[in-house]
């Protein structure tokens, strides 16, 4: 009986990216410019400073954010934007069945 789901507080993670700021991405941007466009690189690779990833996902239906994508950016070795591609962000969320909330 899913309609009696216990209320789950919404989970929202990542950077709010607008379509036009994603369109403004172009080669040769340095990391500060990318940060200005997309926000702080919270998904930057822990072990590889030339590889950033941006993501946005939320369970809050009321959220009006349009871009819910996963952006993968690579920088050349003097940290200028080399290439980037956009994938759909499908975060593996577990929607568990609960019996009266248990």
């Amino acid at each position: 009986c899913s309609y009696l789901e216990p209320y789950k507080a919404p989970v929202t993670q990542g950077n709010v990216m607008t379509q036009e700021s994603v369109d403004l991405l172009q080669e040769g941007l340095n990391q500060a410019q990318v940060r200005k466009l997309l926000g702080p690189p919270m998904g930057a690779n822990a072990f590889n400073p030339y590889h950033w990833e941006y993501i946005f996902y939320t369970t809050d239906e009321a959220s009006k954010v349009e871009v819910r994508k996963l952006l993968i950016l690579n920088f050349d070795n003097n940290k200028y934007l080399k290439d980037w591609n956009i994938k759909a962000a499908n975060v593996d969320m577990i929607d568990e069945e609960t019996f009266f909330g248990l």
Binding site: G14, F100, G101, L102
Partner: protein
């Protein structure tokens, strides 16, 4: 000369190594003139010495002769009436004048100025301060501070020059300073008050359209005998301006019509500075709700004096969208990190949302574990911020234990522990055991509010009860029961929770031999009843604190019923309670409470079993009356007892004003309430008559002590009828919340 030996003379407080550690010169070094100058300078800088001199004695011996500054042994103050002695002593401490401190002649002048200035700030212009110091043995000194306060300078007259539109009386009305009133107790003048008053007049005019209002100058003069102060404020009102154009420019993020809706600054209004400031704050707050925590809103106004109108443009600059980097806690010396974190609605590595932070703030306060909890934002970079949650722990439970002896009861032993944040784990533990000859009860219950991450709470408990009801002054019968109960809480939304539970109960009814009403009941329904009771309740809670809410609402609707077929005395009960808290002023709030309880049997019995009756009277229901006494009584000869019957319908209402305790600075865990209680327990819905309700008025005081919540109440019954037993003073300790 080359230094072979260094000796220090005249120092007894400051040890040799200390002086040595400050010396730039060491043994065997050539002593140049710069070095000597440096040494003297260095020793003076330490502030320990009044006089330092260096000379050479014999061949190569450097002698440093110091005169140490005496230290203060006693500070006495006399002649101060207006400012108490400890206040002055604190002031002296901040100036470094304390028992044991080093005494420095230069400080004295500073002290005289400071003390005089304190008096002058209080308006005692004629006050004079003098200090006498008496030498003591062992280089110590006693200080005597003499103060002559004189008369306070009272306000002679306030002259307002240039105010044509608003009269002197109107303007003086809003000023804090008042002229020598008829009662002769004129306001004692102090400069800060005058500046505050001028600011009040300026904002008074700026809020009524006088955009060019200016206070040219203000003068303060003193009568020759220094007892009357005259103030003059010269002002130019200028013209009254109306807004001709209101525009919002820049990246407004939110739609234009929404801005118009939430701000009330429109073209055509009279110019008002406070309205414009409010509009700026409203917009900035709305933007931070959208995640732009550092948005800036700049109102700039263009005045066109010809037609006396003004254009206001709000320049909106949202700056970067802000994200949360970390959420850290400070001060949780007992409560664990996840117990706090699970209450927060603002996650890390997520967009900042003011709504979520506010929700987190009220959920923390509703938790009731902390004395105070404050969420502060610390800026990390243009687009990132850390949230620092500062909390202050407080006892969250009550603990009573005791051994007693009374002729009636014999030896009694009891232990009561109810802890809502058991060793900081967030779990609730209740343990009540007390045994005496007439009463043996045990009740163990534990609840984990976060059985699942989503605040689904699971609780269970065992209870055993065997009481001789006579003591409870309820009725001459006892019910012995033992059983097991479990309950599950289940959040439906941010503020609504569903709670359902099961109770397996085995009960045995034993009547006192005189109580024949109870005996007839046993003949009809038997004395042993086992039952499975189910309960379902819906709770809506938006209050802003656990112990002392001042805002919000708490509604509980509960249905308790015996599961059909599991008991031969099935009954059901319905409870409905509504609590409304309305903030009246900053710390005064109005609390309205209405409670309705109704119960009835179903199936083969048509009345609510008498031992399940509701009772009214005492703290928690109607204060000022004997506990459980507000209902009809059995009649002595037929039923064999004259105790209150209780009833299957109970109506309760309370209206109270709650405020912190006056004159107590930190009264965060104490409250005073002026209340009106009314209520009664009726036997049967049909004969619930309004004028049967008993009412009382009084004052209550509640205090969260380390041992548990303590409530006192002094009540004056209003419409007691004969036969009511009243109790003006009542108190309880550790009522389960």
């Amino acid at each position: 000369f080359v230094v072979e030996k260094i000796t220090v003379e005249g120092a007894n407080r400051i040890g040799y190594e200390t002086i040595n550690s400050y010396l730039p010169v060491t043994k065997g070094e050539f002593l140049s003139s710069t070095l000597t100058k440096q040494t003297i300078e260095r020793l003076y800088k330490t502030g320990f010495f009044d006089n330092v001199s260096i000379y050479q004695r014999g061949q190569g011996e450097l002698v440093i002769d110091v005169v140490e500054r005496p230290s203060i042994s006693e500070v006495k103050i006399e002649g101060n009436k207006l400012i108490e002695t400890e206040v002055l002593e604190d002031a002296l401490q901040t100036l470094g004048i304390k028992k044991g401190r080093i005494y420095n002649q230069l400080d004295l002048d500073r002290i005289i100025i400071d003390l005089k200035r304190r008096y002058q700030n209080q308006g005692y212009y004629a006050a004079s301060v003098s200090i006498e110091s008496t030498e003591l043995a062992r280089n110590r000194v006693d200080l005597l501070i003499k103060i002559v306060e004189g008369e306070p300078a009272s306000m002679g007259r306030i002259a307002l020059v240039g105010n044509e539109v608003y009269s002197d009386r109107r303007l003086k009305g809003i000023m804090a300073l008042s002229e020598t009133g008829v009662f002769g107790l004129g306001d004692s003048y102090s400069k800060p008050k005058l500046e505050a008053d001028m600011e009040k007049i300026r904002s008074f005019y700026l809020d009524r359209g006088y955009a060019q209002f200016k206070i040219d100058s203000s003068q303060v003069s003193l009568s020759t005998d220094k007892t009357k102060v005259f103030t003059t404020i010269n002002m130019k009102e200028g013209d009254r301006f109306t807004l001709s154009k209101v525009a919002f420019t820049g990246e407004t993020i939110i739609s234009q019509e929404e801005i118009d809706r939430i701000t009330d600054v429109q073209a055509g209004d009279i110019f008002s500075r406070s309205k414009i400031i409010d509009a700026v704050n409203i917009i900035r707050e709305r933007l931070s709700e959208e995640g732009y925590a550092f948005a800036e809103v700049e109102p700039d106004t263009i005045i066109n004096p010809t037609d006396k109108t003004m254009d206001v443009t709000f320049k909106i600059e949202p700056k970067d969208r802000v994200y949360i980097r970390y959420v850290d806690f400070e001060g949780n010396t007992r409560t664990r990190d996840h117990v706090i974190r699970r209450e927060l609605r603002q996650l890390e590595s997520a967009p900042y949302s003011l709504k979520a932070v506010r929700q987190s703030q009220s959920r923390l306060e509703r938790l009731g574990f902390f004395k105070s909890s404050k969420i502060e934002t610390k800026r990390i970079s243009d687009d990132q911020v850390d949230l620092i949650v500062k909390i202050e722990e407080q006892p969250t439970g009550s603990f009573t234990a005791g051994v007693g002896y009374s002729q009636v009861d014999g030896v009694s032993f009891n232990i009561g522990l109810s802890e809502r944040n058991f060793i900081g784990s967030g779990n609730k533990l209740d343990l009540q055991i007390n045994t005496s000859s007439a009463r043996k009860t045990a009740d163990i219950g534990i609840t984990n509010p976060y059985f699942t991450e989503d605040n689904v709470s699971l609780g269970m408990g065992l209870y055993f009860r065997e009481i001789d009801a006579e003591e409870l002054d309820v009725a001459d019968y006892t019910t012995n029961n033992f059983g097991f109960r479990t309950s599950l809480g289940y959040p439906l939304s941010e503020n609504n929770t569903l709670r359902y539970g099961l109770k397996f109960d085995a009960q045995e009814l034993v009547c006192a031999n005189t109580f024949n009403y109870c005996k007839d009941y046993i003949d009809d329904f038997g004395d042993k009843t086992n039952s499975v009771q189910a309960s379902l309740s819906w709770i809506h809670n938006t209050t802003n604190s656990f112990y002392f809410p001042s805002k919000g609402q708490k509604t509980t609707l509960t249905l308790e019923a015996v599961v059909p077929g599991t008991s031969d005395a099935p009954f059901y009960k319905v409870f409905a309670e509504e609590n409304l808290y309305l903030p009246m002023t900053k710390n005064l709030s109005l609390h309205l409470k209405g409670g309705l309880a109704y119960g009835d049997g179903y199936g083969d019995i048509d009345i609510l079993p008498f031992y399940e009756n509701f009772y009214a009277g005492g703290i928690g229901t109607v204060r000022g009356y004997e506990p459980n006494s507000l209902s009809a009584n059995y009649d002595l000869d037929t039923d064999g007892s004259d105790r209150p019957v209780g009833g299957n319908t109970r109506v309760l209402t309370t209206v109270e004003m709650i405020s912190p305790v006056p004159f107590v600075e930190d009264s965060s865990n104490q409250r005073i309430s002026w209340f009106f209680d009314a209520g009664y327990a009726f036997n049967g819905l049909s004969n619930a008559k309004f004028n049967d309700m008993r009412a009382s008025v009084g004052v209550g005081y509640s205090w969260i002590t380390p041992v548990g919540p303590l409530t006192f109440s002094v009540a004056q019954p209003l419409n007691e009828q004969e036969g009511d037993e009243t109790q003006t003073f009542q108190f309880t300790l550790g009522t389960a919340f």
